[in-house]
Amino acid sequence: MQELVNTYGDRLLRSAFALCGNEADAQDMVQDTFLHAIRSVHRFQGRSTVYTWLHAILLNLIRHYHRDRKRIIYDEELTGREVSHPDENLSQLDAAAASSALLEALQKLSRTHREVIVLRYYEAMKIHEIARHLRISKGTVKSRLHYAIAEMQKLLPDELNLFGTRGTEEIGQR
């Protein structure tokens, strides 16, 4: 178990943080993930990687978390970061601030949209892997990704220029 915690602990924590936006809660959820994992280790049949199995447990816990809290509050004190608001000093945003703003925008997305963004762009999963992980069709994954990116584009200030030269309209036409 120590090996699992050392190997996957930080990676799971970062994914949990991206999904729930609160580091303290993410720490708790990773702890619960490992406890659930050790109690249900007999269910692991080796059809996926250990990390994917752990991540599925984590995802389930985060869904309960969102169901309980209904609304996520991005806690700046716990993350220890300063989050720049779109209307102040946008021209001075550096990469770190842009990342923070991106995480903040991520928390404003719906749970389903946030999940596909994190799985696709943070976990670098392929479409069929996301579909299997979330137990939805590939078409639904693509549709959710499309709308999630369009929504994020609206939430982020233009100065961040996350999406290159492509605008919302172009995304909408894709």
Partner: protein, 183 residues
Amino acid sequence: MNCRRFQNRFPEYVEGSLSAGTQAAADRHLARCTSCREAVGQEQRLTQILSERLRQGTETVTLHPANRQRILTACASIPAADVDSVARLWNRFARPVGIAVSLLLIAAFLVISFFSSARVNETKEVRSDRRDIHSAASIEVSYRVPIYKFRKEGNLVVDTLSYETIVASGTLWTGNQGRVQEE
């Protein structure tokens, strides 16, 4: 492949998970379609930027040593017998034992159903009026019947005695009161 079909496979093209044939068709389409080529470039940039920024935004987050220790302590407090050994035994023996038990159950069911159906055919029958069900037993009786034959030989009357075996078969029905009837 036209633009519409390419756009349906756009994410798979960017991630490189298309089949060889579809990939070749997509490549041929991209070679002559500027707008799709630009869209692919933008998607690749988007993937790169989002991945980098999500990593940058989370890279400083690490599992607290105290939390790490809590996980290990909590995991250690779960008895090994409840987790590892049971899980290992289950993984090792569950499938063969499950298959063996299933086969035994199927075999037992087949044997029981075979004999029970034979007995039902022998002893149970529904009468045409469907009101009573009687027990029945097949019976076969054979008996010898003496046959006397007389013939005249001149002034004498000669008789001969012979036996003929008669075989009779039928069904005996047991009524509600346990009486035996013959049909």
